[in-house]
Amino acid sequence: MSMWKSFGKGNCQTRRYWQVLLIIFLFNLVVALLLTFPFWNILGESVGYSLAGKEIASELNMKYLTDFFINEQPSLTASYPMPLLLGVGIIYLLLNTFFAGGAIGLFHREERFTLESFFRESGRWFWRFLRLLLISLVFIAVIFLINSLWKGIAGSALEESAHEPLIFWMKIIRYAGIGFFLLFINMVFDYAKITAVVSDERRMIRTALRSFGFVFSHPGRTMGLYYMVAIVGAILLALYLSVSYWVLPATIIVLTLIWQQLYSVARVWVRLLFFSSQMALYKTIVPAKR
C-alpha cells in the first residue's frame, strides 16, 4: 500500500471513529474552559461594567489591555499559580497518553466503538505509552541540549562577524533544525506506539529503538506520509487564520467561537489522522502477527 492509500485508509478510520475525536476534543475544551474561567471572572470584574468593556467589544485598545494586565497582575498571578499550571499540564499530558491508547487500540482492532471498548483499550496501553512518553522526553531533552551547544559554538564563531543577514539565517536554520528533529521524534514515537499495539510489545526501550530502525529503513514512505498529514494540518491552519482575519466580523463573538471550535476539531482530527494513517502504513510494511 502506498502513502496515498495509507492516508486514505487513515482518513476513513478517523471518520469511522468520530466518537474518539469527540472525546479528545471535548476534553481539550473542558480543560481550556476551566483554565479560562478565572480570567473571565477577573476580566468581568475589571472591565465588565465599564466603557472600556464596551470599546473592547469592537476594538482591542492597547491602552485598556495595558491597564488590565498591569493593574490586575496580582489577581492574575494568584489565580494562575505556577504549581497549578504545571499540575494541569501534567494531568493533561497523561490523559492524552491514555486517550492515545484508546485511539490506536481501536484503529488496530477495528472494533465497533463503545465507551467500554475505548476505555478498555486506553487502560490496556496506558503504562506502555507512559513509558514511551518518558523515553521520548529524553530524546527531546537531547535535542535541546544539542541546540544550546550549537548556539554557543555558532555564537562565539559569529561574534566577530558583521554579516547580519548570515547571522539571522543561521538562527532560522537552527530553529528549523529544532523543529525538524522534534517532528522526527514525534513521528518515531508514533510508530513506537503503533508497534507496541500491533505487535503487543512489552519492552518499551527496545520498541522505541526498533521504531527508529523502522523509520530509517523506510525513510521515503514514513516521512512522506508524515509530511503529507502535516501539510494538511498547515493548510487547515492557514484556512483558519485567513477566515478569522478577513472574513469573520470581530464583533460577532458567536461566529468567532464556532469557527475556533471547528478549527480545534480539525486539530484533533489531524492528530488522529497521524495515528491511523501511520498505522495503515506500518501494517503494510510489517506483516501483522495477530
Partner: protein, 614 residues
C-alpha cells in the same frame, strides 16, 4: 594717503559691528579644547594631547579643579560602574575588553607640572592648583593621555573595525552653585559639561570613514597610510567621533542643516527611513521650538553587536535598527523611534543643557515628550502588527505603570531604586507629566511654555525650578501644586467612578433618580471632568476639584442613567487605571466575552501542542 587711511578706518569701523555680530557666540564659552589624537588600530589605543582652557565663571576662587576620566569605569571589575553593573563587567572580562584612560603628563600650559598634585579616584580626577583660580580668570591645562579602547563596554569602544569615541578625553567637570558636579560614572548616569569650543585633530588609517561633532576644517594625507582630520565645533558641550572603513554615507539637507547618515552596509535599504525621520524631527522642531542652530547633524547607525546605539551627543546621534526587524515586522518604527528620540536631545541636552546627573527628567522626559509628539504627528501608531496598534504614549504608559511610585521623578540618577524605576520615571512618567500638562493647559499654551523655556535657557544649564517658573509665567498661574505632586512626589494618580444607580421615581412614572459617585483612589489631586450619559442621548458635564476623596452627583430626569466617566477625554495620562474611570449600568458582556474567547482559544492551542507530545 590720508584719504586712503580714512577710508580704511571707516571700513574697519563699519566692519567691527558686523564681525561682532557674526562672532557673537551662542553660549558662554567656559571651555576651549584643542586636542590632537592618534588612533592605533593594532594596539586598540588612543594617544592624545589636549590643551584645555577653563574659565572660572563662578564667583568663587577655585583652589582645585575636577575632570572626568570616564573610560576608567571599564578599567577593571573594581570600578564603581562595574560594581553597579556586574553584567558589563562579565562581558568585558569575557571579551578581555577592559579600557581606561592613563594620564601621562599634566601641567599648566607653559607652567608647572601638576602630576604630583593629581588625585585620581577611578573616573574622577582632582587637581590642586598652585594658587586658586580667581573668578573670571582662565587657566590652560596641557594634558597628555593614553587610552586603551574598551570592547563590549557601554556607549564607547570598538567592535571589529568600528570605533566609537564618546567621553574619551579628560573632560572638565562643571562648577555650579558653589560645588563641583564631579560624580563617579554610574550606569544610570549620563553627562554634564560646560559649553565651549573644540578643535580636534584625529590621525587614523586613511581608509576610515569618520563622523564627528563639529564641522570639518581640513583633511590631510600623511603619506604613511594615515590621514589627519581637523574638526571644529562651537557652542557645544561634548565632542564625540566615530570611525569605520565600512560606513556607507548618505547625505540630505533640511533648510540650513546638512544631514549626514553613516550607515551599516546591510542597512542600505533603511537609509531613507533614517533620513525621513531626521528630517521630520528637524521640521517639527523648526516650527514647534526654533530652527536648528547648528549647520550639521550626523546620524550614526551602529554596527551589529555594538554598544553605541541610541545615544545623543552634540551634533551627532546614534540610532539603531536591525536587518531582520525590517523584514519580519515592518510595522515597528524601529529606526524612526530611536532616531527621533536622539534628535530631540539635540535641543533638550545639546542646547538646553540641564544637569543629566541630578535632574535627568529635564532632558529624558522632555525628549520623550517631544518624541511622542513627533512620532504621532508623523507616523501615527509606533507599532502596527496583526491588526493591533500601539501608540508611543501607550508604550510610555506601560513603562511607567510597571513601577509607578518607587521614586519621585526628581531624584539623582544614581539614587533610583533600579534601572526600571529610573527609566520608568525620568523617561516615561516625565513624558506623561508633560502630556497631561498639555491636556490641562491646551496645546497652544504648552507650545508657548516649551518655546519660552528654550529661548530663555538655550546654551545654559536650567534646573527643574526654572522649568516650573516658565510654566507659571506663561500660564499666569501658580502650577506648583501640580509639579509638587507629580515631579517631587510619588503619589498615585487614580480617579474612578465608584458607583452608579438609577431608579424610577415611585411617585412619578418615567422620571428617574440617578446617582453618580466619583472617587479619588490615589493621593494626587488634579481637577477632573465627569461626563454623565443618559438613555435619551442627554449628557451632563461636571467639574470636580478632586480635593475630597469622593463626591456624589444626583440627577432627576426623564431618562435613565447609562454611564458615567471621569476624565472622559483621557487627559490625565498619569492616571494609573483608565478602566475604572468609567462605569456603565449594563454589563458589557460582548467585550468581556470577546477577550475571554480569545484566551479560551489560546489555552486550547497550548493544550493541543502539549498533547502532540503524548
Amino acid at each position: 594717503m590720508f584719504k586712503k587711511s580714512c577710508a580704511l578706518m571707516l571700513f574697519i569701523l563699519l566692519l567691527i559691528p558686523v564681525s561682532l555680530a557674526v562672532a557673537q557666540p551662542l553660549s558662554q564659552r567656559v571651555v576651549y579644547y584643542q586636542i590632537s589624537v592618534r588612533l592605533d588600530t593594532d594596539q586598540k589605543m588612543l594617544y592624545g594631547n589636549e590643551v584645555v582652557s577653563f574659565l572660572n565663571s563662578s564667583e568663587n576662587p577655585l583652589p582645585e579643579l575636577y575632570l572626568h576620566l570616564y573610560w576608567n569605569a571599564f578599567r577593571n571589575d573594581k570600578s564603581y560602574y562595574i560594581q553597579k553593573s556586574p553584567g558589563v563587567g562579565r562581558r568585558l572580562k569575557r571579551l578581555d575588553g577592559w579600557g581606561w584612560v592613563d594620564i601621562k603628563s599634566f601641567r599648566i600650559l607653559d607652567g608647572p607640572d601638576l602630576m604630583e598634585q593629581l588625585e585620581i579616584d577611578n573616573t574622577v580626577l582632582k587637581v590642586t592648583l598652585p594658587e586658586p583660580l580667581q573668578p573670571q580668570q582662565t587657566i590652560k591645562l596641557s594634558i597628555e593621555f593614553e587610552n586603551k579602547i574598551p570592547k563590549g563596554a557601554v556607549r564607547a569602544g570598538y567592535i571589529r573595525d568600528n570605533y566609537f569615541f564618546s567621553q574619551w578625553f579628560p573632560k572638565m567637570a562643571v562648577y555650579l552653585d558653589g560645588e563641583w558636579k564631579a560624580f563617579q560614572y554610574h550606569p544610570h548616569c549620563e553627562f554634564f559639561a560646560d559649553f565651549g569650543v573644540y578643535d580636534v585633530e584625529m590621525t587614523l588609517p586613511v581608509d576610515f570613514v569618520v563622523g564627528s561633532s563639529g564641522m570639518p576644517v581640513e583633511e590631510r594625507d600623511n603619506r604613511d597610510g594615515t590621514k589627519t582630520l581637523h574638526f571644529h565645533g562651537e557652542d557645544i558641550h561634548d565632542f564625540t567621533w566615530t570611525a569605520d572603513p565600512d560606513y556607507g554615507i548618505a547625505r540630505d539637507r533640511y533648510q540650513d542643516t546638512e544631514i549626514i547618515l553613516l550607515y551599516q552596509p546591510h542597512h542600505a535599504d533603511q537609509v531613507n527611513r533614517h533620513l525621513h525621520a531626521v528630517k521630520a524631527a528637524l521640521e517639527y522642531f523648526h516650527h514647534w521650538i526654533a530652527p536648528f542652530p547648528f549647520p550639521r547633524i550626523t546620524v550614526v547607525d551602529p554596527p551589529y553587536g555594538g554598544v553605541s546605539g541610541g545615544m545623543e551627543y552634540p551634533m551627532l546621534i546614534t540610532a539603531g535598527t536591525s536587518w531582520a526587524i525590517d523584514k519580519l515586522i515592518p510595522g515597528v518604527l524601529m529606526p524612526e523611534l530611536v532616531t527621533i528620540h536622539e534628535f530631540g536631545h539635540e535641543y533638550w541636552y545639546g542646547i538646553v543643557a540641564n544637569n543629566e546627573f541630578e535632574e535627568a527628567w529635564l532632558d529624558e522626559g522632555i525628549t520623550s515628550y517631544s518624541e511622542i509628539k513627533i512620532i504621532e504627528a508623523t507616523y501615527g501608531p509606533a507599532l502596527k502588527w496583526n491588526g493591533m496598534k500601539m501608540f508611543d504614549r501607550v508604550a510610555s504608559r506601560l513603562s511607567y505603570l510597571t513601577t509607578p511610585r518607587r521614586d519621585p521623578i526628581y531624584t539623582k540618577s544614581w539614587e533610583f531604586y533600579d534601572g526600571t524605576s529610573y527609566s520608568g520615571m525620568v523617561y516615561a512618567k516625565a513624558a506623561l507629566v508633560l502630556l497631561t500638562l498639555e491636556n490641562l493647559l491646551g496645546e497652544e499654551t504648552m507650545n508657548r511654555i516649551m518655546r519660552t523655556y528654550y529661548e530663555r535657557y538655550k546654551f545654559t544649564h536650567p534646573k527643574t525650578e526654572d522649568f516650573i517658573a516658565v510654566v507659571n509665567e506663561v500660564t499666569g498661574r501658580d502650577m506648583s501644586w501640580y509639579f509638587d505632586q507629580v515631579i517631587y512626589g510619588t503619589g498615585a494618580v487614580d480617579y474612578a467612578i465608584a458607583s452608579l444607580s438609577s431608579k424610577e421615581d415611585e411617585e412619578e412614572e418615567g422620571v428617574y433618580l440617578s446617582k453618580v459617585r466619583v472617587e479619588r483612589l490615589g493621593e494626587v489631586v488634579i481637577p477632573v471632568q465627569i461626563l454623565v450619559s443618559f438613555d435619551n442621548g442627554e449628557q451632563e458635564r461636571e467639574l470636580w476639584d478632586g480635593k475630597k476623596r469622593w463626591k456624589e452627583f444626583t440627577y432627576r430626569k426623564n431618562a435613565r442613567l447609562l454611564s458615567a466617566e471621569v476624565d472622559p477625554q483621557h487627559k490625565i495620562w498619569l492616571d494609573k487605571d483608565f478602566i475604572n474611570n468609567s462605569r456603565t449600568m449594563e454589563y458589557q458582556s460582548r467585550g468581556v466575552n470577546r477577550l475571554a474567547a480569545k484566551l479560551l482559544f489560546w489555552w486550547q492551542s497550548v493544550l493541543h501542542v502539549l498533547a502532540s507530545f503524548s
